[in-house]
Point group: C2
Chain length 476, copies 2
Amino acid sequence: MKPRSSGKLGTESLARRGLPLQEQIYRRVRAAIADGRLPPGERVPSARALAGELGVARGTVDAAYARLAGEGYLLPRGSAGTVVSPALHADQHLPDAERATMPDRRRTAPLPFQMGLPALDAFPRTLWSRLTAQMARRLGADMLGYPDPAGLPVLREAIGAYLAVSRGIACRPGQIIVTGGYQAALALLARLLLRPGDAAWFEEPGYFKARYALQAAGAQLVPVPVDEQGLQVEFAATLAPRARLAVVTPAHQSPLGVALSLPRREALLAWAETANAWILEDDYDSEFHYVGRKPPALKSLDAGDRVIYVGSFSKTLFPGLRLGYAVLPAALVERAVSALATERFGEDALRQMVTAEFMAKGHFARHLKRMRGLYAARQKALAQALLDAFGTEVRLTLQRGGMHLLARFPEQGEDAGMMRRAAACGLAPTPLSSQYLGSRREHGLLLGFTNVPETRAAETAALLRRALHDPLPARD
Amino acid sequence: MKPRSSGKLGTESLARRGLPLQEQIYRRVRAAIADGRLPPGERVPSARALAGELGVARGTVDAAYARLAGEGYLLPRGSAGTVVSPALHADQHLPDAERATMPDRRRTAPLPFQMGLPALDAFPRTLWSRLTAQMARRLGADMLGYPDPAGLPVLREAIGAYLAVSRGIACRPGQIIVTGGYQAALALLARLLLRPGDAAWFEEPGYFKARYALQAAGAQLVPVPVDEQGLQVEFAATLAPRARLAVVTPAHQSPLGVALSLPRREALLAWAETANAWILEDDYDSEFHYVGRKPPALKSLDAGDRVIYVGSFSKTLFPGLRLGYAVLPAALVERAVSALATERFGEDALRQMVTAEFMAKGHFARHLKRMRGLYAARQKALAQALLDAFGTEVRLTLQRGGMHLLARFPEQGEDAGMMRRAAACGLAPTPLSSQYLGSRREHGLLLGFTNVPETRAAETAALLRRALHDPLPARD
């Protein structure tokens, strides 16, 4: 056993602007693993030791370690301490041809309950490969130069046609920009629209990854509570009437899953027009509304042209594609395209061609339809399995769509502890409390079901029950 | 003939921070063309009218229009006015299958003298397509998830091996990040390292596109003159001793082509260590040093770990690939990877796999060797053709490599006028004076030769001569 290695994690104090301490510790450990300072099998410093060294609470390090364990980076071994997962570097011992297929040292299937991933086992990979090969042959010499920074016209047209039919959004292809995913669109728009100190409404609870891009742009986030009608718009307007931006998930609120009601939608649009503010509509999983009528996009009601609609192919196709898009109000098109040209100069053509072809040939609509059926079945199976396993110990919130469900365990107390127990068993639920900015937090587990096949729902629910009922694994 | 259409260009005043007025007008017109407000064949407002409306000098609009003409967006038709190039939307009348191969509405071959493009006609497209198809088949379900935000390990290893052999740089793959090109790396690093108002040394003249990303991060650019030994380091240290960053092109200064001398390199490194500043080494065309010994990378001398080395595949492979990389000092790795995760979450795997395979199989080294031979021949042919066409009217500066040459025409006066004349004939030289930040500017034309085949050198030089000797085309 090698000695403990706090030194390898760096000794700078934790003071990065805009990142919670837990996130900083998480990233620091991950970086040390990624660049080889912490090799597989190496023991990491105990949570207590690291907390003391960094001057943070023990619970903060615990939470970061639990997340790393949940994602397969760390392996808690009870009283033997926690080590870097020995499986991580397995690819280094493979022949070259095999290694070229590795996206990452983490060559792991999605863990049960992991959020934000579509069903990777159900993606039509063979079809996608075939289209890619076809499009690669069409890559003419005239396509080798700099691409249009705003996106390939053929893809922007396909996105426009899809949004018109599926989301009721009328826009010209010239208003659509192609980005490297939701996160890239959000970061770009935050830099474009916000000056340091500008207030931005943020759903409480809300999609935690969106925080960082906003905070990196200097935003002052105003947490706005969400109830069964969605964001409490009137309350927000008294909290921060002069906010520059509101970031919302109207179709299925992330993470609670509720839809923003029509009166709230109207109030939000009216506020934005009056305040000359922008609304960023994150329509992240509207495609997976599989019971009843889908709520229309907020953008479809946007007479005043204050809504920036942002979509992503990470959930509808796959996250590794790194493509998303935004529909911009006319007043922002030119500035956004300028910023894209300054910051990056567009996405490469091939991926865009393949995606456009996938859409134009009808594969996209067929795939979404198939996924809606699959997710409805997986949601139902997991919900039933949880009820079977936990009985009255669990309260489930089922929305009419989405990719995860919310399970509350009133007798269990803090969800960070539950997450730690589950992570030790190879499960990756997300604590609801981690999605809050303020100190009033509800507790529960967010359980992604997209990668839990129906046939494994029962055993997965049973494993969660065992994990939650076991005592916490001993830690050094 | 439709009426003039200044209205379609928007009536907001020109006040974007960090962008010169000419650039703003250029982008505004391009945006109006891209989103269809200005269709092909439509007459654009006269330079005089637009200048009056926007409250800028006539020459500013002239320069923007000349650039747009040079890039094929606008067609000047003498007294009939200037129109949007009627060829631009030709793809809209093609069948779907053909249109899917269009990267952009501008489906044009590179124009003679265009800078910054490799020889697109000489890229091994068939081989690249084949590797892409192979790699697409290897895209396993485990690769559909989120990629490593720092880049595919197999590509980072290939880059590391290449840099060790070719540039004398010793680094671990963990210090290498993969980015969406040079511009993306620069924008990321500028945001990471600079606070608004921080001084940054910038070569005078220097690569103008790099300005914007630095200025967008709030940098105060300090122009530092370049002489025959490169950047005047001692002078810079008196101008702005406390600068946070120096952006340099030590191998072949952009655009003058000189190499930074060894004493200057040592002085630069010593300054950075003393001032605790960072050096960003843009090694943009070191691969194309085709006479004598290649100067080593500044990074190879960097005992104090102050140099960030940035490279791009845009010149060595093709710009449409949108991939570049940076070698980071140990102290910056973690912050950069965090920022990559916040802002984008990495590049998609397929392109990285294809690039890594291209490198690992030796194609990259072979391609570069072939291009060095080709560019040496094209440079020599164009230089000879210019001397034949212009005789004593031209003074050529030939460096031992690079992708463009500098031609001075002492009798011609301002280079913006020369550029306008050349653009009207379908040539796309870059005025040397446009590469300066300050008001003391030298004049001359930067002539990219990578896309001028030897067999066309004579006619291209003759066309330039006719263009420069003709009176300026009449403008309305």
